[in-house]
Symmetry: C2
Subunit: 301 residues, 2 copies
Amino acid sequence: MELHDLRYFVAVAEDLHFGRAAERLHMTQPALSRQIQALEAELDVQLFQRTKRSVKLTIAGQTFLEEAKQILCHTEQAIQITRRVARGEVGQLRLSFTASALRSVLPEMVRMFRDRYPDVQLTMNERCTNDQIIALQNHQTDVGFLYLPVSEKWLTLKPIAEEVWLVALPRKHPLANQKQLTLSALAKEAFILHPRQEGPAFYNQIIRLCEQAGFYPNVVQEVETSQTRVGLVAAGMGIAFVPEHLQTVGDTEVIYRRLSGSAPQLELAIAYRRDNFSPVVQQFLHIVEERIQKSVRESVA
Amino acid sequence: MELHDLRYFVAVAEDLHFGRAAERLHMTQPALSRQIQALEAELDVQLFQRTKRSVKLTIAGQTFLEEAKQILCHTEQAIQITRRVARGEVGQLRLSFTASALRSVLPEMVRMFRDRYPDVQLTMNERCTNDQIIALQNHQTDVGFLYLPVSEKWLTLKPIAEEVWLVALPRKHPLANQKQLTLSALAKEAFILHPRQEGPAFYNQIIRLCEQAGFYPNVVQEVETSQTRVGLVAAGMGIAFVPEHLQTVGDTEVIYRRLSGSAPQLELAIAYRRDNFSPVVQQFLHIVEERIQKSVRESVA
DNA sequence: GTTATTAATGCTTTAAAGGTATTAGTCTGC
DNA sequence: GCAGACTAATACCTTTAAAGCATTAATAAC
C-alpha cells in the first residue's frame, strides 16, 4: 500500500463518484477504478458498496477513511516539521557564556534570535571558559562565549569582541581620585588576580604588562570570580582587574578606572564544535555575524 | 512522497549503510541510493550526512526518522483495524428487545456474542415492538427482538421462537387450583388485555380464540405492559395473559396456568434493516442462527 | 423503449523504479 | 606510501506498475 492509494481512496470516498474524483486527481476514471480495486484486494476488505450507478462507503470503508485522512495529514506535517528543523526554525540551542559576555554582547544577540526563531528552545548557562570547553566536548552545550586563546582543534572559534579590563580600587584609595591612571602607578599595590591555572595566558599577560611598566606585581590572592575579587577590593585587601562590563554591577565601596597606555585585555569569541552541523547553530551564527557587522559599522561611523 | 520512500529511508537510517539496508530491502544499493537522493530532493532537505565511506543522519534526518516510523506504524494499524471492522470484530451493536425476549433467548445469545467479539461495544434497550420498528427506521438501533407480524418491507425478519402466553390468575381465584384449564372455563372472567392499537393482530387472535371457545371476552382494562397487567391481576381486577418467560418474575399473589387446547401465542423474531450491511450485525446474526439450530436439535432430541 | 449516466474491462502507452557494470573517493594494513 | 578493500555515486539498460483510450454493461430517468 502506498500513499497515493490513500489519496485516491480519500478522493473517491469524499466524492462518492469515480468520474469526478478522477477528474479532481487529474487522472482518468478507469485508472482510478482499478487502483481502488487493487487496494481492496490488497486489504482484502470491501471499502465501497457499489452498484453500476452509485458508490457508497462500507462500515470498514468509513473506518479506513478516518485513518487514511490522519495518515495523509501526519505525512504532510512530517514534511513541514522536517523542513523547519532543516532551516533551524525548530530545535534547541544551548548557550554557555562568561559572566561578562552576559553583560555585553550576548543579550542583544539572544533577543534577535528569540524574535526570529521563537520555536527554538533556548537554554543558557554561565560557565567559565574552561568549563565551556568541557561542556562543548561532552555535547552539553552548543555554542560558547568564551575568552581566547583556546587551542582545541576540534572547535571553531570566531573572535567577536575586544574586552578591556579595568582596575578596581577601593573608594578611599589615594589613587581613586586621579583622572589619568597608568599601570606603573600601581607598582606598590597588592594585586588580587584570578587563579593562574584558570587562564594562564591572561595571567601571563598581566605579569608581562607589569614588567613592561617596570615592576613585578605583588599578588596577594588568587580568586576565582571577578565578583569575588571586587568584594575583596571593597574589603580593602588590594586592587584587581575586572572586565569593563562588570562595572555596572555597582558596589559603592569600589571604583573602576580605565588604565591609560597599555591595559590588560581579552578577546571574547564564540566557539562551537567543528562537527556540529545543527541548523539552529548555523542560524545563531548568522545572527552573531550580523550583529558584529553592525557593531563594526557603528564604530567606524 | 510515497510510503516506500519512508520504508527505504527508515532502513538506511537504521543501518546507516546503503549496501546492507538495500540487502534487507531485497534490492540493490544503487537503486536505494537513488531513491534516497530523490526523497531528499523532493523534501529539499538533506537527511543524511554522507562521506564516501560513511553515512549518518542530519538533525533534520533524525526528526524525519521519528515521523516516518510513526507514519509507517500508523499505516499498519490502520490496515489491521480496518480488517477487524470488516470482520465485525470491532464496532458497535445496538440491540432492542421486548421484556420477554430479555428473559428467554436473548441472554445466551448476548453472552455468546460478548465472548466471541469482546471489542464490539454493545448497547441494549428494552422497547415494545412498535418502538423497535421506529428505532430501526431512525437508525437508533441495529437489531430488534420483536413480535410478528410486522409488515415493513424494508426490514428483514427472521422468526426465532414461538412464545406461548399463560393465564395469570389471582392466587385466591376458584380456578387457581384446577390442574387442567381451558379457555372456555374463563368465559365469565374479567379480562385485562394490552391496548388494541399496541398489537392489533395479537389482540384479534385472543378475541378469535375466545369466540372459538364460545364466548366474547369481557375486557375490563387495556393496559400497556405485562408487568402492569400482572399487578392488576394481583389486585384482583381480573385475569390477564402474559408471556411464559415472565412468570419467573414472581408475585406471590399471582399464579400462572398454561391453557390446555388452543392458547394465545406469539412469534418472536429478529428484525434488521435490509440496507444494514454492518459486519457486526452479520456476525450477530450468525450467532443467533447458531443458537437457534442448537435449540432445534435439543427439542428434537 | 430510448437515452444518459456511471463503473468496469481490454488493450496500449508511459513513466517510475530496479538491475548491472563501473567509477571515485576513503580507510586499513603491510 | 602504496595496494587492496570498502562504499556511495553515476551511467545505461530493463522491468514493472500505473495511466490513458476505447469500449462494455448495467441502471435510472424520461
